[in-house]
Every structure is written in C-alpha cells, then in structure tokens.
C-alpha cells in the first residue's frame, strides 16, 4: 500500500508529497538528503520507488493511479521544493511509448531502467519521409533473434547522449505504407551507428543525422507487434505535439499578463512606440499571445471536465503566427540595423535568431500545413484528401527529394 492515497483531498496529497520530499530531498542544496551530490540515476530511483515518477500510471506499473489533477498537485509540490523527477508520465516520450504500446515482458525489463537512467532519442524522420512520415525507408531485417537495421534518420536531438532511440523501420515492403512499419527500442551505443550534427539556420546544432549500417536490435526490444508500429507511434507523437504547444504557457501566465512585454521595450528603445501603425501591430501581436494563453487555459479545463482534446490541437498552430509575427515586428522596429548580427549587435542578433527559430515551431513536430490537416480531419471531421499511395505495396510508391542548390 502506498503512502499516497488516491482518495485524499488535494491539500492532504500536497502535504504527503511535501513530507516525503522533506525526508528525501535537500531543497537548499538541490540533492538527495542521503547523498553528497545530485546523481540523476540515484534520485530517480528513489522517486520511482515512491511511485512519484509516473503518478498517473497504475500501481502495478510503477505509478499511483492518480488523476491528472492529482498529478498537478504532485508536480506543484515538487516545484515548491525545487525537486526534479516527477511527471515522467507526461514528458518521457520513450517510457510513455513503451508503457502504452509495449508487451508486458518489455515493460518489466525496460521501464525501471528507462525511468531512472538512460536518455531516449527519436528516430522517426528521414530525408525522404518528412511530413509523409509513414514513407520511411530504413529497413529492419530479421536475423535469428535480432533485427539488422540499415538506413538514415534525421532531426534527432540528444542523439550523442542517447542510450536508446525510438526507431521506426520498415519490415514489410509489400504491405501498404502504414502496415509494414515496426517500432523498436534501438540501442544507440553500438558499431554501425554514425551521428553527424546538423548546422541549423539559427547557428545551433541541436539536431543530428544518424547513419545506420548493419546495426542490430534484439527482437524482444520490439515495441508492440511486428508491422503494427504505426499505431504505437501515434501514441508517441500525440504527446510530442501536446508538449510543443503547451510548453511555453501555463506557468508564465501571471508574469505574462502583468509585466511589460519585451516587444514594447524594443519599440520604446527604437523610438517607434508612437507610430500608430506600429502600435496597431504591437497590439495584435500581444493579443495573439494572450488569446493563446486563454485558449490553453480553456483547453486544460475542457480536458479535465469533458475529456475533450479539440482545443489542444490549436496551440501549436497559434504559436507559429505568434513567433513569426513578433519576429517580423521586431525586424521592422530595428530597421537597417536588422542586417547586422553578432555579439556587438545584440538586438539585431536576438531578432534574427528569433526570426529563424520561429520555423522550429512551424516546421518541427509536423508543419503548420500538416497541423491544419490534423485539425480539419480529426477535430472538424473533414474527409481526408485523395491518397495515391493508399492500399498499394510500399515498394511501388513513388518518391523524390527535390533540388537543394541555388538558382
């Protein structure tokens, strides 16, 4: 029997979690009370054993069977004590996918490990499978008790640090595209896995290309059934989109509504705060941010009270017009100065960075256009467009990359 009662009032739960933290966590020095320094694996192990790592999961699977409202209470209590380690049932994509789609054997073997130590990366997109992700061409071929993997993946963050990759690979080339894919928990630290960082338009290199040549994955690391990986993957991607749209909201609401926004400061600094055209654009930009916060609050309430997810789908699309729009105004505020860059020109450098970084939201995790398809089809119930590759063997499907040079 757990010390955290699902029937307890929110306040009683908060007190119980705080008292657990106070006997295990040194909030001042941000380390476990029993250890001289913070070590992720050790602390996570303690949180996991208490059921607090994944509180919404049932007690037979490392959790406490808490509702999402109760999980919020737990997260708040952790935040009060500056303690990490809870909410993995919302953020740990690898563990969530294994929990939702994996066999009991895989869950028993891998969840305790995934939830305490290893980092997972996502091996989804390929150069020829972006928006049309089900068009992947990385192949997995059976060889005794293991599968041999060959292919190329792209847009993988944390690849260098990762111990495992959530891998989508093709296992049947004669089935239609969605029905020949299998999902694997792929060990990253092995020969035949080459990682090359991508130089991004922001100057960052958070993403990588992964070249896989005759690398192997044990059959028991298959997530879900052979050729049914697309369904398991849907579980994973739904969480990713949710996190992308939400990430920035909620916690910031108070400061966002009470204090002066940075764009206003820039308008003042550039002596354009009295320009009536700029004023209209500033108001519209601030409004888009505020209505997105309001939409997210409503989305949360609707999800809690009615279980409705329809509003959730809007946030990522709304964030694109916010980020691109704000960068456009900042560029106009700076005028010719915006062509400069570098540490000597920090306003210009920040603005140019933001203008480029906005594509991260409007392309990453599904482009705005894909997101509009999803809203129109899944929320509004509009019919799917004609799909020429539907129902035909994947090896017959046409493919092409498009040119990549100037002029």
């Amino acid at each position: 029997m757990s010390q955290f009662d699902t029937d307890a009032s929110p306040e009683a739960l908060r007190v119980a979690v705080l008292s657990w933290l106070d006997t295990h966590w040194d909030s001042e020095n941000r380390r476990p009370l029993t250890e001289p320094t913070y070590e992720r694996r050790h602390w996570r192990q303690q949180v996991l054993e208490a059921g607090l790592a994944v509180p919404s999961w049932p007690s037979e699977w490392f959790g406490l069977g808490m509702t999402s409202a109760q999980c919020k209470v737990i997260e708040k209590a952790f935040a009060e004590r500056n303690a990490p380690g809870t909410g993995l049932d919302r953020y740990h994509l690898g563990a969530i996918t294994v929990f939702k789609a994996g066999s009991d054997a895989l869950k028993h073997e891998m969840l305790p490990e995934l939830l305490t130590g290893p980092i997972c990366c996502l091996l989804y997109s390929e150069p020829n499978a972006g928006s049309d992700l089900a068009g992947i061409r990385t192949r997995a071929e059976r060889d005794g008790e293991q599968y041999v993997i060959n292919g190329q993946k792209v847009w993988t963050s944390n690849a260098r640090e990762a111990d495992y990759g959530m891998l989508l690979a093709r296992t049947d080339w004669d089935a239609p595209k969605h029905r020949g894919i299998t999902f694997f928990l792929f060990p990253m630290k092995q020969p035949g896995v080459e990682i090359r960082p991508i130089n991004q338009i922001t100057g960052e290199s958070e993403f990588n290309e992964i070249f896989i040549e005759n690398a192997v994955v044990p059959e028991r690391f298959m997530i879900g059934n052979l050729n049914e990986g697309w369904g398991s993957f849907q579980t994973a991607i739904a969480y990713e989109r949710l996190i992308m749209g939400q990430g920035i909201t909620g916690r910031r609401r108070n400061s966002a509504t009470r204090s002066r926004p940075p764009l206003l400061e820039l308008a003042e600094k550039t002596h354009k705060l009295n320009d009536p055209v700029i004023r209209q654009r500033l108001a519209q930009a601030l409004a888009y941010r505020e209505v997105n916060n309001l939409n997210n609050e409503r989305a949360m309430t609707e999800m809690m009270t009615k279980g409705s997810m329809s509003l959730m789908s809007l946030s990522k699309l709304a964030m694109s017009r916010i980020q691109h729009g704000e960068a456009a105004i900042a560029t106009d505020l700076l005028g010719p100065e915006a062509l400069l860059d570098g540490p000597d020109n920090s306003d210009a450098a920040n603005t140019n960075f933001d203008a480029a970084k906005a594509y991260m939201n409007s392309i990453g995790g599904g482009t705005d256009q894909i997101q509009r398809n999803i809203i129109a089809e899944k929320v509004l119930g509009l019919p799917k467009e004609h799909e020429p590759d539907k129902g035909i063997a994947f090896r017959e499907v046409k493919s092409g990359t498009g040119p990549r040079t100037t002029g």
């Binding site: 002066r260 004023r279 601030l286 509009r372 509009l382």
Partner: protein, 366 residues
Amino acid sequence: MSTIQESEREEIREALVRFLRAEAGEERLRECMQRDRGYDDAVWRQLADMGLLGITISEAYGGIGGSTLDAAMVAAELGRSLLPVPFIETCVIAPALIESSDVAEKMGEVLSSIAQGTATIAIGGNATLAPYRDATCTLKIEDSNRISGEVSLVMHGAHADYLLLAIDSESQTRCFMVSADTEYAVEEQTANDPALRPATIRLNCARGIELTGLKPDDLERVRLQGVATLSALQTGAMRAMFEITVDYLKTRYQFGRPIGSFQALKHIAADLFLEVESATSAAHAAANALASADSLAARSVALAGFICNDAFRDVSAQAIQLHGGIAYTREHVAHLYWRRARATLSMLGDSNTHREAYLSTWETAA
C-alpha cells in the same frame, strides 16, 4: 458577482436554445424582417417571461441580478439565432446606466417594464457608449433638461418606448431618458442588414430626464459591459456560421469527392476554427473579468472587442467564399451573418480603437 450559479446559467442557456430553435428559426427570421420592428414582439415578451430581459437588473427592480457573464450567455445565443432584438441596449447598457445614477429609484418603473418586456430602449448620441456613435450628431442640452437637435444611427429608434441620449457636452458625458410620448420626429434609415432598424431622431426642446450622478468610472464600466456582451453575441453568431460552413464542406461534392477533402479549403477551415475558439476564449475572459471586478478588466474587454469583431468579420466573409455560388444568393443564410458581422464592426468602438486601448493598458504595466 452574479447571483446566478454556473449550473443555473447552463440550465437557462439550454432553455433559451430550445426556445430560439422553436420560435426564431431562419424562416421566422426572414418573415419578421419584413415587419416594422424587424423582429416578432411576441418573441421579445416570451424572453421576458423566461426572465432573460431582466437578467442584469437588480432583484429590487424586478430583475434577477445577474452579471455580465449571464448577459453574455444570453447574447451568445441571440447572436447564434441572428434575432435582431435590442438586447444590449435595453437589457445591458440602459439598466446599468439607470442603476448607477441618482435617479434609479425614480426610474424603478422603467426598469421593471424592461424586465417585463413592455419597454424597449433605443440609445443614440455622440458619446462612446452610444452603440452606434453618431459623430455628426447636433444634439444640444437646453435649459431645464430640454434637448434639441438631430441624431442618426439610433437602432430601433422608431419603435422604442424610451430614447436614451448619451451626449458629450463640455468634456463630460450626460445621459437623458426621453419617453416616446414626447414629441419628436423619427425618420427610419435604410440598413444594409435587412433586419436592422436604424433611425434619425429630430428633437425640438423635447423634455428629457437626466440620469444624474453618473461618474466617469460608471460610464466606462457600462461601456465595457456593453462591449463584452457584444463580443459574446459575435462569438455565438460566428460559431453558427462556422458550423454551417463545415457541414457544407462535408456534404458538397465536386470532382467526385467532398470539397472539404481539398487542402486549400480545409486549411482555411482550420484557421477559422482557431479564430472562433480564440474569440470564444477572449469573450469569456472579458465577461468573467467584469463579473469578478478584475483590475485588468479594461484590457480583457479591449482584447475581446477587436478579436471578436475581426473574427466574426473573417469567419462570415470566408463562409461565403467557401460556399461558393450558393452563398451569393439571398436565399442562402450566409449573407445574413455577413451583414450582421459588418453591422457590428463599428458597434461600441471599432477594432483599431480597441487595439489602441489594449496597447495602452500594456504601456502602463509595471
């Protein structure tokens, strides 16, 4: 705060939805557009029987003492049905002004008549709280509360039981009630929306009763209540038009498939859905801020003001485009929503004015 609980509000809303479906469908609406008032007076009295016309009026004067949240709930459903009744003027702005004034008790009978559905009020003038502000209005306040001059854009001016004239005079706003028994001339104006009934009023030393004791804060609060209620009305209307459009996209076939399967159209639908939901969130936040006397209510209302204006305009305009030729006919309902959207764009302040007000609230933020 409202005297009405959230669960009660939902019950009232459901009853109102049932009533409007039965009594104010499109056919009835079109038939009533031909009549003098543009709406059926019996429907107005039935709204009174349901207690909805006194929804913001104090219980002491025969109302039910609700807040802006309650008025917004009613307005959203009226907007959905396109019923062209003077709800915002008669049931939100006028009662709030009267109750904030020193003459509330003296005007108690007017308030209870509003709640009973036996009195409607038309509002005109050059003050910002006049729903359709007439900048060219020549109204002058003469000695002993006599009013002379001309004012246009007075909605339902020809049929109202009282005129409420909101006049900016010597850097203050003064409000007067003029009974329809008083002698003044009325000339109806032609409206683009066939259901609306604007009028020009000419007064010559007509006797008014001043709503004395109104402070600038009172006037501003009432204006905000009006804008928040209008925003809710717009969200109801735009959602109805949006739902009709999505249904059309699912059922209209061209090239052997539903036109809603074309990405060119479904992407517009997805964008409009974002507009409708954003407007709904903004309108709700505005009404809620007023009902809970939030110190940032002016910001929330300004936000709802332009977000809802623009969204209603865009949703109804795109609704015609997405329907194609069928919505270019008067038989189709789309143009009625489109005309109503265009008619509300300048009601209680246009979008640019709201945006400017919204930005100002951020400038003063710490």
